[in-house]
């Protein structure tokens, strides 16, 4: 986060604007299209061509740090949107499978926070695949919100340059990642003990979980290879899991090393069929755990640190 001291400077008795603030501006990035939004998503079963997003290159040293996701679904209304999203670029995949939009994107007042900001180098493209999971075709809007850099090589904007360099450096070691079940889950009426396993192919650190469903359900998350569970039993979604706007933020990050397996057990608490979408948000660690630089682990570098983690930090002061 940017502090006030970085935006104004005291000269003598006066405070003057810090000109370096011109080198970084708030920015919202959306699809590269010729016409104004919205974009169109075809009905279930009819593929929609991917929509690219090009990260801004406002100057020679550009790029963007995306920290929020927002969306609107004009047809179904935001609260009933039923489509999935998959982010990829030329050499990275940011999700294991397409995630339900209401588990990753929020609205203007309550955006979906990306706790490890997504660094987008200037002019590089992010492919966005949009897939309806139910119902007819819809028109939608979606934005990444964050900071865009606008510097030339000779500019002396020290803190901006340091921040940009840090974002580029951190992107070598980790990037945001969303983890979801590898299929559309539809639970039969009052069905219990549905197990869904997700193989963890690379080191992941998860920060929160969010879900949307037709009706209430109970869930349990465990790691069967180690016999580790993060619950003492099944927790009802109506008491224990939020959505993208208010995700269930873990009290401490959950580290899943390569080779582990995440098992999600679902019970349908309704007497009718129940579609369930669960998404974990976190980051993928791109190097072996022993090679991760210490500052990458520093939870204060996240955007923004959850309040419960701040409690831990306060506790350390005493």
């Amino acid at each position: 986060m940017i502090g006030v001291q970085e935006l104004i400077t005291k000269v003598g008795d006066r405070w003057i604007p810090n000109l370096s603030s011109k080198a970084v501006i708030p920015y919202s990035a959306t699809f590269d299209i010729q016409n104004p939004l919205p974009v169109h998503i075809n009905a279930v079963g009819v593929p929609t061509p991917p929509y690219p997003i090009t990260w801004p290159r406002l100057n020679l040293e550009g790029g963007m740090e995306a920290g929020e996701l927002v969306f609107e679904d004009a047809t179904d209304t935001t609260a009933l949107a039923d489509w999935n999203v998959l982010f990829t670029d030329s050499n990275r995949r940011y999700m294991n499978f397409p995630c339900h939009v209401r588990t990753i994107c929020g609205t203007a007042q309550l955006p979906g926070i990306i706790r490890q900001p997504l660094w987008g180098p200037g002019s590089q493209r992010l492919e966005t695949t949009l897939i309806k999971n139910a119902g007819a075709a819809v028109d939608v809007r979606m934005y990444f919100n964050g900071l865009a850099y606008s510097m030339r090589p000779g500019d002396q904007y020290k803190w901006v340059r340091e921040r940009r360099n840090k974002a580029i450096w951190a992107a070598n070691f980790c990037h945001p990642y969303w983890l979801t079940i590898d299929q559309n889950v539809e639970l039969g009426a009052s069905i219990t003990e549905n197990n869904f396993d997700i193989k963890i192919g690379e080191n992941l650190e998860l920060f929160s979980v969010a879900a949307v469903s037709d009706f209430d359900f109970a869930y349990e998350v465990s790691e069967p290879t180690l016999g580790q569970t993060i619950m003492n039993g099944k927790i009802a979604a109506s008491a224990g899991i939020g959505d993208a706007r208010y995700p269930t933020i873990f009290d401490t990050p959950l580290l899943l090393p390569v080779g582990s397996r995440l098992r999600i057990t679902l019970d349908n608490l309704a007497a009718s069929r129940n579609r369930v979408f669960i998404t974990f948000q976190g980051r993928k660690l791109l190097v072996p755990l022993k090679d991760v630089p210490p500052s990458i682990w520093d939870i204060d570098t996240l955007y923004p640190p959850p309040s419960s983690w701040r409690i831990q930090k306060e506790g350390r002061k005493s």
Binding site: K234, G240, D251, L269, G315
Partner: protein
């Protein structure tokens, strides 16, 4: 009287930071997020109209300890909840009486953040009882959000954390007070004088307030020893504040900018005035930290 530190040690991290001097990944493996439900089948139970549930248990199965930071629940009707902490040797209250579920439990989106984290392990468990105050069946689900410190036998550091937490919880733990006698029923535009009596064995550090009511009201909280209002300066002139400005809800409790200490056995006067123009049932919850009186004597 010594001044105790504002920040109470409530972290399972070592004082000099998570992972300091040791691979962080190893620490991350030991401290994991954890969620606790009650021991009812599937964490779900139904209480008939105006009935009372069995006393249910919340605990960890192996490993631990965990630190509970947030509480959330869903219920299909209004209810009162009572909680205790039981470590096998002794049982202490977590509430001074049954409190309204809508004042002290958040929902799935925004849990009620405890004023201080609460330690639970295999031996130390939360007991919980729900009283249905509606005329219909009431189905409950509970969820406690925690961080779990896996106590590995070969890990002296983990054992040290566990010991430190165990010691700390004998000195302080989170506590919630309701008004003596339970809910207050105000007549239309009526005024009611009430008290909150602090336990004899514990000092209380007030940190946050929340409420559930059927209408808006004015509130003033007065220290019965000094006559001083928590809302105003010294003297007899107290201007009460409106519930919507000063008392938060279960999902967003009003957090005091600095905790206020009330000594063991002290009484708080709580003056409530209805402004809804109708009969108004008010449930209040004063959240804070219980501090062992014995510890303070030792310090003195």
């Amino acid at each position: 009287m010594p001044i105790a530190p504002y920040i109470i040690p409530n972290s399972i991290a070592r004082p000099n930071g998570i992972g300091a001097g040791k691979p962080v990944a190893q620490t991350r493996r030991r401290i994991t997020p954890n969620f606790l439900g009650v021991n009812a089948p599937n964490n779900s139970f139904t209480v008939p109209a105006n009935g009372v549930s069995d006393i249910l248990t919340v605990g960890v199965n192996g490993g631990g300890p965990v630190q509970v930071s947030g509480m959330s629940a869903s219920s299909t009707a209004e209810a009162l909840v009572m909680m205790w902490i039981n470590d096998g040797n002794r049982q202490v209250d977590m509430f001074n009486q049954d409190l309204h579920i809508g004042a002290v439990f958040g929902d799935n989106l925004r849990p009620y953040r405890l004023p201080e984290t609460l330690m639970v392990d295999e031996l130390r468990r939360i007991k919980i009882k729900a009283t249905n105050i509606s005329a219909d069946d009431n189905t409950f689900h509970f969820c406690f959000r925690t961080a779990k410190n896996d106590n590995i036998v070969q890990d002296p550091e983990g054992q040290l954390c566990s010991k430190r937490l165990d010691n700390k919880q004998r000195i302080t733990y989170p506590f919630l007070y309701g008004i003596d006698g339970g809910a207050v029923t105000l007549t239309a535009s009526g005024v009611s004088e009430n008290t909150v009596t602090i336990y004899e064995d514990w000092h209380f550090w007030l940190r946050q307030l929340s409420y559930f009511s059927t209408g808006d009201f004015l509130i003033d909280v007065i220290d019965s020893n000094t006559g001083e209002s928590i809302l105003n300066s010294r003297g007899d002139v107290h201007y009460p504040n409106r519930n919507t400005l000063w008392v938060g809800s279960n999902i967003f409790p009003f957090r005091l900018h600095y905790p206020r200490l009330y000594r063991a056995g002290q009484k708080l006067k709580v003056r409530l005035t209805d402004i809804s123009g109708d009969i108004n049932v008010v449930h209040l919850a004063f959240g804070g930290t219980h501090i062992s009186r014995r510890m303070w004597r030792e310090v003195e």
